[in-house]
Amino acid sequence: MLTAITRAFRTPDLRNKLLFTLGIIALFRLGSVLPTPGVHTDNVRRCLAEATQGEAGNIYGMVQLFSGGALLKLSVFALGIMPYITASIILQLLTVVIPRLEALKKEGQSGTAKITQYTRYLTIGLAVLQSTAFVALARTGQLFQNCREPLLINQDPITIITMVIVMTAGTSVVMWLGELITDRGIGNGMSILIFTQVVAVFPAELMNIFRASAWTFTAVMVVGVFMIAAVVFVEQAQRRIPVQYAKRMVGRRMYGGTSTYIPLKVNQAGIIPVIFASSLLYLPQLVTTLFASSENPNAVVQWISQNLVTGDTPAYMITFFLLIVFFTYFYVSITFNPVEVADNMKKYGGFIPGIRPGRPTAEYLNYVLTRLTAPGALYLGLISMVPIVALAVAGASQNFPFGGTSILIMVGVGLDTVKQIESQLQQRNYEGFLK
């Protein structure tokens, strides 16, 4: 991998693409730490420090993860890519409901371009909403629960409007940066930006751990490296189901005959199950926050707050694990439809040697997939448990950097990007084996 990158830097146009991407990332990070005009930076910093030390986990966990800490810093790019992701999901859902949108989607590139345009408009709409809500929270001091210092320099409407406009504009710029990376850089823009934000918090977190204890730091590093290696290993693992196409009648030379296959990954579901499971586990926290203030909490709420809010209880761990296993099966079943795959193969004259096209093929695929998903689900569950267990055993900080989600995102995006670099390298470096 390192050699691939050094070689990439020696290939002029690839080097330009890489430098372009790095430049965009630098810009993106700059915007993520640059405070929005009107923010009282000193106070925000003080509150932020208090919040991370405080035991109360913040409800913005996932958002904070995707925003690389920019959100609570009230920076120009505070909203990050979340509005764009939300807008894409909403539009995708709308294509299900609105026939005109569905028709547009079928019209190919020109239709998709229109949908993309709508997504951009919706992103800006969402950004206006979110930034307004967010600035309002900051104004009333509800952003940080335990910090009562004023976060804005004044309450002038002009200041507030400026902040909303700047954050909205920031979101549009982030959207543009992502598209620029996809167009002219390397990798998928949105993934790269998410990757950047996930990794961005690492140095600070590691520094915190190091300050606390050098021993813990070493242990965390060792575990981290080991986990990354394990994740890379499993992410690459796949079962290849050979497929033959019987449409052409030419004595063709077979290069081992293994080039046409369906790659079924051990982790066919990717990271989504973990995100679903963690999102669902914020619910108990929400419940306790809502009902905690009541004078005499009932037994259920009490039980929940004791067992399902922090990760160091067996109930939490078991629930989390089971949820991940469930969502893995669920997600694989909706993204990989054996019947559809079998139909597609049948249409184009493809078949799995020894198995009839149509239903028998679908059944076979389903059989293999179900068995393959079991280790996949276990793996996802275990990886996600590591930080929680580490927390329970070593008493490490809640913000343990090598969380399951972070590692899966990091490795996933990293692998994809390196693969793309390699593929582009291969296309350009023929000199290596041709005199």
Binding site: K106, G108, Y245, K247, R248, F336, K347, R356
Partner: protein, 744 residues
């Protein structure tokens, strides 16, 4: 200021069109010099540097030699071409002359120009028509066609300006690439390409790679299989997919075939199932008189985008034999791919490219994406006054035909000439029969009588003429109005259905209303036309009124939608063809570089001498060095070509199933590259080792080398479609499932 609003408009235009102001200035300047040039007895050779003087002289030259005095807009068009743009000029504006002026301009600058047109007929007509003009300017001109011999081709390519169809030029490139003797080469270095009907050549034809095939043995299709599939029933034994591109057996069908063949597992033997699949494809997807015609006991393919017979074109990989078995014709030779080139690969060889067409703006985005070309919109000399009516929509094809005949009879009663554009050969003949049954005499122009094309077109504008044509009349043909026709409303163009692209519709419309002539056009569309049933199958069309006419607003939307879906599908095919061949073109470039060295030098012999010095020395005792070098060259070329054909076969194979990789969340195109690059390395290494083996074993005497076999080279072309990811992205799949469950 007008120019500021103009500038702003161009800025908003996506993709922007070229600013014509500098060209207009040159043309105005040329106008001032007109009197002086007119007075000259002998025209001086036009200076290549001074564009105004150049324009003034060519205008006079065209007037004197052709009797055509180029309008200002034609000169503007020529200047846009000389600047390397795609000029959009309406039909009848004299594109041919503009093109000739530009070609002459390039030639006088010392370039060698290929004027690339859509078909041989136009190439030859234009070259001969413009001949005197070129001659007056001292520029040599030639043309090539399907029937040109090698010598004729070489001579034509040696001229400063060469006219030829895109497929002929492409095949010459391919043939040259496979020649084993320097003396056989016909082409010169690519220099300037001037593309006529640029959207057709650069966009429509670009979906179809030109493929050079070598004949192997006779086709293996068995007539029994053809007889077997004839008994199968659509919908029960087999299904055809929505866009009529694929056919497949149902499980009932598999049972029936297994029973008929007396086997238990049809999928046990790949050869057997391939045979059945091919026979089924020939039976269910290829229709006589639509996709091919049978003439002189042979199957001839019809090019779908031009409606012409494609000589020498054949289906690949056993399909041709399957069609022959279906028509009970003796099997001809079957082909193996030796090499292929996409239009894109062909055109991008030229350092300078420009083009002209009547419909460029609609594909402006694609011209920029794929060829880096910008469009210059040239205003018409006289504004077009053609009346384009709204589409007339009918519930069924039968209703449509009835209304068509009525409409034709009514217009014919007035004496107005009518041109009817049909979508395929079969439809043109059916319609002609209907018209004749009504006592309306008509002329049919389709792939079966393309030889009479020029004379049919010449009469199409006369009083009372009815011409039924396939798409071949859609381009390049200039229909002049007969006497007294203008008063009747000019030529009336009727389309028998919308095409798969709005550009083709516009081209057909453009046959009427040339040079400010009056004219009219109307399209008759049935809601069960192929376009709609194939591309918008799930939409429910609105109900017709009592007379079978559909007047609901949604119907017009539906037709437009189906057409846009078709355009989207075709664009995707074009893009995939290009994405998946880009790497191939790169590899080919390297192979050609190597081949060139072998062909023109002694690198083959030197290489072998170095790798097997004893054998070389041993042979040198009995064989003169020259002969030995020649033998080495032949051996290496043989293995290089053989290996390249194998490599191509492997890549085609790989590409067929590469979309399955998307299921493992991998990018199919990246995966394709990951496999193709190492395969190329293997291929190169194998060429070397095999050449060495042959060199060690072959019989080389003073008379030369006796080779074990040689590649033959007839030619054929076909489309192969690449599907990149039919399953959609992961999110698409999630939402598809949601929508399926929401709608039950």
């Amino acid at each position: 200021m007008a120019s500021i609003s103009d500038l702003f408009r161009r800025f908003l235009d996506r993709p922007g069109s070229v600013n014509l102001t500098p060209f207009l200035k040159v043309v105005a300047e040329a106008g001032k010099r007109e009197e002086r040039v007119k007075a000259l007895d002998q025209l001086p050779p036009p200076p290549a540097g001074d564009l105004a003087e150049f324009c003034a002289i060519v205008r006079e030259a065209a007037d004197r030699t052709l009797g055509l005095r180029p309008y200002d807009v034609q000169l503007t068009g020529a200047l846009a071409l000389l600047a390397g743009h795609v000029a959009e000029m309406a039909t009848g504006e004299g594109k041919t002359l503009s093109g000739a002026i530009a070609a002459a301009g390039y030639a006088l600058q010392g370039h060698r120009v290929h004027v690339i047109s859509v078909n041989d007929y136009l190439a030859r007509r234009d070259a001969e028509w413009m001949g005197p003009f070129y001659e007056a300017l001292g520029v040599s001109v030639g043309w090539i066609g399907q029937t040109s011999t090698r010598e004729e081709r070489r001579e034509a390519y040696a001229r400063q300006v060469t006219y030829g169809s895109v497929s002929e030029i492409g095949f010459d490139v391919l043939r040259d690439r496979l020649s084993t003797d320097v003396a056989d080469l016909v082409m010169t270095e690519p220099n300037v390409a001037l593309v006529d009907e640029a959207d057709s050549v650069l966009v429509d034809e670009a979906r179809v790679p030109l493929v050079m095939a070598g004949a192997t043995d006779r086709g293996g299709a068995v007539p029994q299989t053809a007889a077997l599939v004839r008994r199968l029933v659509r919908g029960y034994h087999y299904e055809i997919d929505d866009q009529a591109r694929n056919v497949y057996l149902t499980s009932k069908g598999i049972d029936a075939v297994e029973q008929a063949l007396g086997v238990t597992d049809l999928y046990g033997d790949p050869a057997q199932i391939t045979d059945v699949n091919l026979a089924l494809h020939a039976h269910a997807l290829l229709t006589k008189d639509v996709d091919y015609i049978v003439r002189d006991g042979k199957v001839h393919l019809i090019n779908p985008s031009r409606g012409r017979v494609a000589l020498l074109q054949r289906w690949p990989d056993g399909l041709q034999a399957a069609v022959e078995a279906k028509e009970a014709i003796p099997a001809s030779e079957t082909g193996e791919i030796l090499d292929s080139v996409t239009v894109q690969g062909l055109i991008t060889r030229y350092p300078q490219v420009c083009g002209m067409t009547g419909t460029a703006v609609a594909v402006g985005e694609q011209l920029r994406e794929f060829y880096n070309l910008t469009v210059a919109v040239i205003p018409p000399n006289r504004a077009c006054v053609r009346v384009d009516e709204e589409d007339r929509l009918f519930a069924t094809i039968a209703d449509k035909r009835r209304a068509l005949v009525e409409e034709i009879a009514a217009a014919h009663a007035l004496g107005r000439p009518i041109l009817i554009g049909t979508l395929d050969v079969a439809e043109s003949e059916e319609l002609a029969d209907l018209l004749r049954a009504r006592g309306l005499e008509c002329v049919v122009l389709n792939a079966k009588n393309d030889a009479e094309e020029a004379s049919i077109v010449a009469r199409a504008g006369e009083h009372g003429a009815i011409t039924v044509s396939t798409q071949m009349a859609g381009r390049g043909t200039d229909i002049r109005l007969g006497e007294g026709v203008a008063e009747l409303g000019g030529l009336y163009v009727i389309g028998c259905g919308r095409h798969a692209s709005s550009r083709l519709d516009d081209q057909l419309r453009g046959r009427a209303g040339r040079q400010g002539d009056p004219g009219g056009s109307a399209f008759f569309v049935a809601l069960d036309d192929d376009l709609i049933t194939q591309y918008a199958p799930e939409e429910r069309p609105p109900a017709p009124d009592a007379d079978g006419v559909v007047r609901h607003r949604r119907a017009a939307y539906l037709v437009g939608h189906a057409q846009r879906v078709a355009e989207g599908v075709n664009l995707e095919i074009h893009r995939n063809t290009w994405r998946y061949t880009r790497l191939l073109e790169k590899q080919r470039e390297l192979v050609l570089e190597r081949r060139e060295k072998v062909l023109r030098g002694d690198s083959a012999g030197d290489g072998l001498a170095e790798a097997a010095p004893e054998r070389w020395a041993e042979l040198l005792d009995t064989v003169p060095e020259e002969v030995l070098q020649e033998a080495a060259r032949a051996i290496v070329l043989y293995h290089l070509d053989r290996g390249w054909a194998d490599h191509l076969a492997f890549l085609n194979d790989l590409r067929e199933g590469i979309h399955l990789r998307a299921l493992g969340r991998m990018s199919p195109i990246d995966e394709f590259h990951r496999e193709a690059v190492p395969a190329y390395a293997t291929f190169m290494a194998e060429v070397e080792s095999k050449a060495l083996t042959t060199f060690a074993e072959a019989d080389i005497t003073a008379d030369g080398l006796t080779m074990p076999g040689e590649l033959k080279r007839p030619s054929s072309t076909w489309t192969y479609l690449v599907q990149d990811n039919p399953f959609g992205s992961e999110w698409d799949r999630v939402f598809k499932r949601i929508s399926a469950s929401v709608r039950g």
